[in-house]
Symmetry: C2
Subunit: 222 residues, 2 copies
């Protein structure tokens, strides 16, 4: 994947890609000041931030994303909004992330031809094929590990990744990933790891992000 | 206000107006089948339906709105989506309704120049002036009565209506309105009454809607 260096909103051109290699999902409400979490995560080297807040109002997501944008643009970090396509368009985010409870990809793509769209595929290869066919920019799989945010979910087998990889679309793994647990995911060919708890609940989010980067650099470039 | 007779999505042209005179706010989740509620309300003569579900997923709102659309278009009843501009655009609704926790009007108008946009102004004339300045298609005031959905709110004085009327934008009253209580609102010059409980919780929603129509016809045209 190319590095994300443009600061222009909605700057997707066919074939371009965001750098989602270390993708921090900032989940609101958080137990600490969200701007601090974002700043610390960026300081530690995350390449993209997803803003997620299923119970947050559109006004609150919009206001926080607006605060966040200058910081992200300055650092070349991508901003993805979870679920709310309208908020993503309003703040000029780079992308929107859609799960199964969100708008269908076909509608989102029709409404926002130039936005990067990511799709949660869980453990479902057919869903992934449909997403790629529907012009998704990346597909997300997981959880491969029991995660703090969804402790009840059955982990997905890492064996899905080679098949997912064959679809020719960037792959992000999500769910319960720690620096140690990210290593086999990199070996299996993911383009990025998405992280909530291991950054958000770390004593020092920047240090946590740095640990992820170290594992990534060792696994990807050695 | 003109009758809403077009079935084309997003068919707003400057100066056109929807018929919001009897405006049913279908609030999800409902205690009865929502499609039944809509059908019965339409049978009783509502002119517009707002779909609202603060805790519903985008997928669920989208799917229900898609079920509802053919019925509404056949009857010439307007569809307004609460809060979710993205869902409104995806289903080709006539409009979106924005409260203080939703996207700012300026952003919504920029993203959706041809959508009707309504704005909740509560008891706030300055907010109403800003909304009219920001190209809102209607402004909503209330609650003028204690409502079942917001029992803790202090009722707004009906004296606000003549001043609101002077802003030259269609006015909708909302909150705790029954057929009897709608009469003074019509006398004070509202263009529409928005109703949740008195239709949604009525034994027969169609009969409730007919009662509202009778009062409206008597108050407006006598």
């Amino acid at each position: 994947m190319n590095n994300h260096t443009t600061s222009s909103p909605s700057g997707r051109t066919k074939g371009s890609a965001l750098d989602l290699s270390l993708y921090y999902v900032l989940d609101l409400p958080a137990s600490r000041e969200p701007l601090y979490l974002a700043e610390s995560a960026i300081e530690g080297g995350v390449t993209a931030i997803q803003l997620r807040g299923k119970r947050e109002s559109a006004a609150s997501l919009y206001q926080f994303a607006q605060q966040l944008q200058p910081l992200l643009q300055q650092k070349g970090v991508a901003l993805i909004i979870n679920d709310r396509l309208d908020v993503a368009l309003a703040v000029g985010a780079d992308g929107v992330h859609l799960g199964k409870d969100d708008l269908p990809l076909t509608e989102a793509r029709r409404l926002a031809p130039s936005l990067h769209i990511g799709v949660s595929c869980y453990d479902d290869l057919q869903r992934a094929k449909d997403a790629v066919h529907g012009d998704a920019d990346y597909i997300a799989f997981g959880a491969f590990y029991v995660s703090e945010s969804k402790p009840e979910a059955t982990p997905v087998s890492i064996d899905i990744l080679p098949q997912a990889k064959a679809l020719g679309c960037p792959i992000v793994a999500i769910g319960g990933i720690t620096p140690e647990k990210s290593e086999p995911l990199w070996r299996a060919g993911v383009d990025g790891v998405a992280v909530i708890s291991a950054i958000q609940n770390a004593e020092a989010p920047d240090a946590a992000a740095r640990s992820f980067r170290k594992v990534m650099q060792k696994a990807r470039f050695s």
